[in-house]
Every structure is written in C-alpha cells, then in structure tokens.
C-alpha cells in the first residue's frame, strides 16, 4: 500500500447514509458525555465497551443479586430486523440505549420502555466482502456517538436525532480493510484499530478528532523502516504482516496510557515471515494524545496459529507474591493466562500458565516471559501440522470480566479442541483473503471421549488458582462475560440459546432464560428511575456459528446445528 492510500481520512460521503426517526424521538434532555463521566461513570450507566476504562466488565449495581435473580424476567424486547452476529453491548446513557447491529445499523431506544427513538442504516456497498459482518458498539462523546463500519468508515451521529455529523473514510474496503470494533473515546479523540490481517494488511491504531473527524495520529502496529522493532521482520514481510488491532482498547487514566491488543501475523505459517514479528500478538501501551508507543509486551513470537491477542488486557490493582502492583490480565488466545505488570513506560512479565490444554508450549522463560514452542506443533509449509487448542485458541475475542468484590477473573474458555492446517504459498491479491493455507484444509478436532467443550472459568489472579468452572457438554462457549456487584456472572455464548446468571463466588447456576437466537453479545447492567435492568443482544453468527458447524459435523457428539439467526435486544428486571 502506498502512503497515499493510508491517508484517506477526511473524505466525507453523506450521500449513502440514512437515518430514520420513529415514534418516540427525538430524545429530550440528553446527558452530554464528558471525560469526567467516562472516567468515573455513574453506577447506572454503561457508556464504554466494558463500562469502565479499565476494561473490567463490572457493574456496581446490586439490586439484582444472588437472592432475587431467580425472579428476573424479560421486561421488553426489540427485534433489530438484522441477521448475523450481534456482538455489541447495549450502550446506556441516562435512560437512552444505543444498539449497534451487523450491516452498519444503530438503533436509539428508550431504555425503560423499549420504544425506538431513531435508527441509522448505513447503505453498505454492493461489492463489500464482509468476512465478519458485525459491529461491537458505539462510542459516546458530548452529544455525539461514533460507529466504525465494515466498509471502513468512522461515522459520527447526533445522539439525539441519529443525523450524520461527519463521516471519515479510514482506508479502502476494496483492499481488505474493515472495522468492527467499538470506538474508544478518550478526551475528545475517537480511537479505532483496523481489521484485515487475513487480507495481508499492515495493522494500525488511529485517532480522529471527535468534533470534525480529522485524523490526529496513526500508529502502525508493525514498525516501518527506521522504527524500533522493524528488525524483527525479514525483507518486505512487514508491509503485509497482519497485526490487526480490531478490538477496543482499555485506558489507564493515571498514566494516560491506552492498552491495545494486536492480532496475529500474516499469512499464518510463521516460516513465511521469519522473526519475532513485533508487534503482532502483543499488547501495546500508547499515548492517546500522540499515538506514541510507550510500552509493549509480545505474548508469543512469530505467530503461526492465527492466535491474535486482540482483546485488550484488563487493568487490575493486584496483590500477588507479597506485593501490590498495577497489573494487566490477559487470558490469551494462545491458551496462557497472562499476568503482567504495567508501569508508565514499561510492561513486565509476572506470571503465565495454561488455562486450557495445549501442546504448543513447553513452558515460559521466567526472565523474558517468552513461551517456549514445541516445533512439532508449529505450522510450516507443505506439511500438515496439528496443534491444541484450535485456531480459535483457549479464548477468542469474547471478553473476560473481573469483579473487584470477589477478586476473580471470569473467562469464557474452550477446551478439548485442536486444529491444524497445511501451510501453502498463496499469492497476495489485494482485497482477497491471504491465509497461507487452503481453507478446505483447515480442520477442527475434538478430543475423543471429551465430555464438554465450552468452559466458564473463575480464576484468582493473585494465587493462580482456578476457583470454579462450569462445563458445557454440547457447546462451545462464545460470548462475553459481565460481572455485577450483585455477585452475578452473566453470560450467553452456548448453542442452546440460553442466557445465564451464575453465583460469582461459587459458580452455582442461579437463573437461565432461553432466547430467540444464540448470544455472542456482551451483557450490561443499567438503572433507570431506580430500577436495575440487565440487557443483552441475542443474535448468533460469525465465529460462534463456524465452530457450531464444525461441532455439528462430528455426529458422535450429539450437537445440534439449528441455532436460528436474527437479532433481538433483551432487557430483564426483577419483578417487584
């Protein structure tokens, strides 16, 4: 790609955008979103991807709790009219809910009644190749909201009316660039990272001015010539090396550092891109004002397994081994539960251990934190290599949660899966997939005699001990987890369409409800007029569906492959 192609921001294209206003709108008395509110959100609101900048996925609401959750019941639902994977948390700001759906829609809803205020429908191009047709939500700032789209634009809408305020082209969707994440808003900057590692792009994180959409900085996740880390690449591999940054980052408000997860290297077999390949499969600590890389930690080197580590680590104040420190906690796709220490300009390795079975790692170097690879399970060209866990890893993008009450980390994990493929040289055609293998050669294996696949795990990061675990005998677990001060752990993620609440301390199943489809989306808790609500989108698709199809083919497991598609926002409360 040329420099010119990378610098396409600022293009305004209002012509292809539609917003409609329904009965309940426009919104009166909207509460503008400020830095102070984002840094210290009111307990009843959910305005960031994981509610708070530290990414804990925890609500301090406790009106719905272990005692009364058995009386939790749906109070309203809302059909989005869209199929495919509904992965976004419903975002709530003082009684107004914003729901992002696949195909570039945003729906503003009265969070108490379920009435629609307005709906924005992006008119996506006919020739768009949507590998991951989804959106993970909208960011808020002042009286605007921000949507990242699969045709690679960032759009600002008026939160009260849905009217388009600005529309910035980030890069060219025809070159395999796309966006699926919820923008992170920090001090008037709208920050996103690009998807597209599977198309042989060069990853980046980019910030736009929240007021006018002008690009402020762009930091590539793969260092170019003259930049530190460039020597971890050979030849021109860095130009097409992947390193997508397609999940929302977290933010340390004290040190003013954003932590952003970086994805796998491209194409998949590591022998096609010799070297450690910074900063693929890493976490970056970035200055939100300049984009400068202040610190990094690479979880595993020369990624060969499609194990991107895009979920940003959770920021937790931790006490471990007799000392207190500010940690970064990351249950990795590489099957390792990572405990790191964050300092203003440094990230230190503290500990790591496998949280599901893996045959890829023989251990971790204590000094450096580098995992030691077993070459027998590292994909190469021309030979089929098998490895555990599968391509989806021990835990994919669905988020873990942390409860500061229990001090446990809740991990949506998958075990008893292995995968494999044969590396193959494939020419790069811009805009077309570039995996380094034939898709029909990709396999998923299940361990004979395995009695379950999905696992909801509770870990104590201070001791490295697993406290409890729930197993799912006939399903993967592919959904984000949320914890609440009511000592509840909320999660969907299974192919039986259930939404569940567990006891945060014991793992006891306290409540479940079958929904219209499977739940990949993130549960949230919010409060309006003194009532606590739990909300989640049900809408199966994308990778959950892919794993499902694979499992269903193993007919000795007894897994059904009949999860219906179609999105519905579900909102629950306890009957009074």
């Amino acid at each position: 790609m040329t420099t010119k192609q990378w610098l396409l921001s600022g293009t305004v294209a209002f012509t292809c955008l539609v917003s409609t206003t329904a009965g309940a709108g426009p919104i009166e008395n909207y509460s503008p979103v400020t830095s102070a509110r984002l840094e210290n959100p009111e307990p009843g609101n959910w305005m960031l991807y994981r509610r708070t900048y530290d990414g804990q996925g925890y609500s301090p609401l406790d009106q719905i709790n272990t005692t009364n959750v058995k009386s939790m019941t749906p109070v309203w639902t809302f059909s989005t009219g869209v199929v495919e994977g509904h992965e976004a948390p419903p975002i709530v700001n003082n009684g107004v809910m914003f729901v992002a759906t696949p195909m570039g829609q945003v729906i503003a809803i009265n969070a108490r009644t379920g009435d629609e205020y307005w709906r924005y429908k992006r008119q996506l191009p006919d020739d768009l190749f949507q590998l991951h047709p989804t959106s993970r939500g909208v960011g808020l700032w002042q009286d605007k909201l921000y949507l990242a789209t699969t045709d690679d634009h960032v759009v600002a809408l008026d939160a009260k009316t849905g009217k388009v305020l600005w529309d910035t082209k980030v890069q060219d969707y025809k070159k395999g660039q796309y966006l699926t994440l919820m923008p992170l808003v920090v001090d008037g900057k709208v920050i996103v990272g690009g998807s597209g590692g599977e198309f042989g792009v060069r990853g980046y994180v980019v910030a736009f001015d929240a007021n006018d959409g002008k690009e402020l900085w762009r930091t590539f996740t793969i260092p170019g010539e003259g930049e530190p880390g460039h020597d971890t690449w050979s030849g021109d591999d860095w130009k097409t090396g992947g390193g997508s940054a397609w999940m929302t980052g977290n933010y340390d408000t004290d040190t003013k550092t954003i932590y952003w997860g970086v994805g796998n290297a491209a194409p998949w077999p590591g022998s096609t891109h010799p070297g450690d390949n910074l900063y693929t499969s890493s976490v970056l600590g970035l200055d939100p004002n300049t984009g400068k890389i202040k610190a990094y930690h690479q979880y595993h080197q020369n990624d060969s397994w499609d194990w991107d580590e895009v979920e940003a680590p959770i920021l937790i104040d931790l006490q471990r081994d007799g000392r207190s420190f500010k940690s970064l906690i990351h249950p990795g796709r590489d099957a390792i539960f990572w405990v790191l220490e964050r300092q203003a300009d440094k990230i230190n390795y503290v500990a790591g251990w496998p949280f599901v079975q893996t045959d890829v790692w023989k251990g971790i170097e204590a000094e450096t934190g580098k995992p030691i690879v077993d070459p027998a399970h590292k994909p190469v060209m021309g030979t089929r290599i098998e490895f555990c866990p599968s391509l989806w890893g021990g835990k994919d993008w669905p988020s873990a949660a942390y409860s500061p009450k229990t001090r446990f980390v809740y991990v949506p994990a998958n075990d008893n899966f292995c995968g494999g493929f044969t590396g193959e040289k494939v020419p790069l055609v811009p805009g077309q997939l570039w995996l380094g293998t034939k898709p029909e050669d990709i396999g998923l294996k299940v361990k004979p005699g395995a009695d379950h696949y999905g696992e909801l795990q509770a870990w104590d990061p201070a001791t490295g001990k697993k406290v409890w675990q729930q197993n799912y005998p006939k399903s993967q677990l592919f959904g984000s987890v949320t914890a609440t001060a009511g000592d509840l752990v909320l999660v969907g993620g299974t192919n039986d369409r259930m939404f569940r609440a567990y006891h945060a301390k014991t793992g006891e199943l306290l409540w479940e409800q079958k929904t219209n489809s499977g739940i990949m989306g993130m549960p949230v808790a919010y409060e309006v007029d003194g009532t606590e609500y739990i909300a989640v989108q049900s809408g199966w698709g994308v990778d959950a569906q892919r794993i499902q199809d694979a499992l269903a083919t193993t007919n000795n497991i007894g897994v059904e492959n009949n999860v219906p598609q179609g999105g519905v926002v579900w909102v629950f409360a306890v009957k009074k």
Binding site: V82, E84, K121, Q123, D126, D127, L128, F129, Q130, L131, P133, S195, G197, E198, F199, G263, A266, D306, D308, V310, P354, Q357, T358, D359, W361, G363, E386, C388, L391, W392, G393, D396, C418, G419, V426, V429, P430, G431, Q432, L433, L435, K438, P439, E440, I442, G443, V446, K447, P448, G541, V542, D543, Q545, R546, I547, D549, A550, T553, T554, Q565
Partner: protein, 197 residues
C-alpha cells in the same frame, strides 16, 4: 504444561475460519479498473475468459471444462471492445460443466450443454465462493463459501443447500455457438448481498 497429545482424534473438515480467517484468495478486479465498460454487468454475447492461472485472459472453450468440475473462475469479456469486465468483483463468475442429466429443468433450460455459470459472490455476506467440495448433506460436490459455510448446488439453480445464505446465487445464462459458449442474457437474480430492512 498439560498436553492433549492424543493425535488420533476424529477429524472434522471444517471450512472454518477462525477470527481472522476466511476463504481462499480469488482473482480480483484490480487492473484495468478504469477501462470504460469494465465494471458494467455481463451483457448478452459476452465471452468468458479465465480469471486466474496460466491462461488468464484467454477465452474459455467448452473443452477447457472438465465434466463434473471443478469450476473455473471467469470474467465476462466484451468481444467487440475486448474489455474484460473485471472492474467490479460482482462480475466474477464460476463456470462449470456438469452432466446435463443431473440438472433440474430450470437449470437445464438456462444453460448450454451442461455448462452453467453463476455469480461467485455469496449471497450471505458477499465473500467469494471458492470451494468445490462434498456437501455437508449428501454425497455430491457443491459450491462452498468458506466464510460462513454456505453451500449452493449448481445443479439446482445454485439454491442454498446448507448454511446461512438467504438465497441462491445469481445465474448467468449461457448459450453455445461455433464451438464457443457466450452469455445469453444478463444475470438472473440479484448479485451479491441484500441490505436488511
């Protein structure tokens, strides 16, 4: 570290693509984008040319297609202006030769001597269809989109036989004359995906 060392597990051919995964590379509309007419949809009397491989750009003849597949990726070409219509990926087609006895009536009526052509743009989310593999149900090979595993049967107007795709592939009717086959009419059905309501 713990290990799942038993390598005798039952293999599942998946067609899956993990988070950063997708379908195989297919040739793409990049060069000649600016040629007038290159992004117009295929027209009656267009010929089809190889879209990839050593013979890229050469006109495809019936004998170039092996009975029973695999399909060949092709671009339409205006024989009068020589413009290859590869300015839009929505113009790329899969052309395949099948036993006419296997085709249903509608398919047989629309195509030439068992040679059938369909849009390669999956009606689900717009990925290119790249697979010719045994279907999830049944014993026959079908077109497969590896993005989300949709399958289409070219013997039955490319109707969906598996997966999330909502409707069949657009068909490109063909006719034969003088040892060639040419496009007989514009696409039947919408090419590509449909916006939700």
């Amino acid at each position: 570290m713990s290990s799942s060392s038993d390598q005798t597990r039952r293999t599942v051919i998946l067609a899956v693509l993990a988070t950063a995964a997708g379908a195989a590379a297919s040739p793409s509309a990049r060069a000649d984008e600016d040629q007038p007419g290159s992004d117009e949809r295929p027209q009656k009397a267009d010929v089809l040319v190889f879209a990839e491989g050593e013979r890229t750009g050469e006109v495809i003849k019936p004998e170039d297609l092996k009975l029973g597949g695999p399909p060949v990726r092709a671009w339409p070409k205006d024989p009068k202006t020589s413009v290859v219509r590869k300015g839009s990926r929505l113009n790329e087609v899969l052309v395949i030769r099948l036993d006419p006895a296997e085709l249903d009536d509608e398919t047989r009526a629309r195509f030439a001597d068992g040679i059938v052509a369909y849009s390669d743009t999956c009606t689900h989310a717009g990925c290119p269809i790249t697979g010719w593999v045994k279907g999830a149900t049944g014993d026959k090979n079908v077109f497969k989109c590896f993005c989300h595993n949709s399958e289409f049967d070219p013997r039955q107007s490319a109707q969906v036989v598996f997966g999330p795709a909502p409707r069949r592939l657009a068909a490109l009717p063909l006719t034969t004359a003088d040892g060639y086959f040419t496009v007989a009419a514009t696409f039947v059905g919408k090419v590509g995906v449909q916006q939700p309501g």
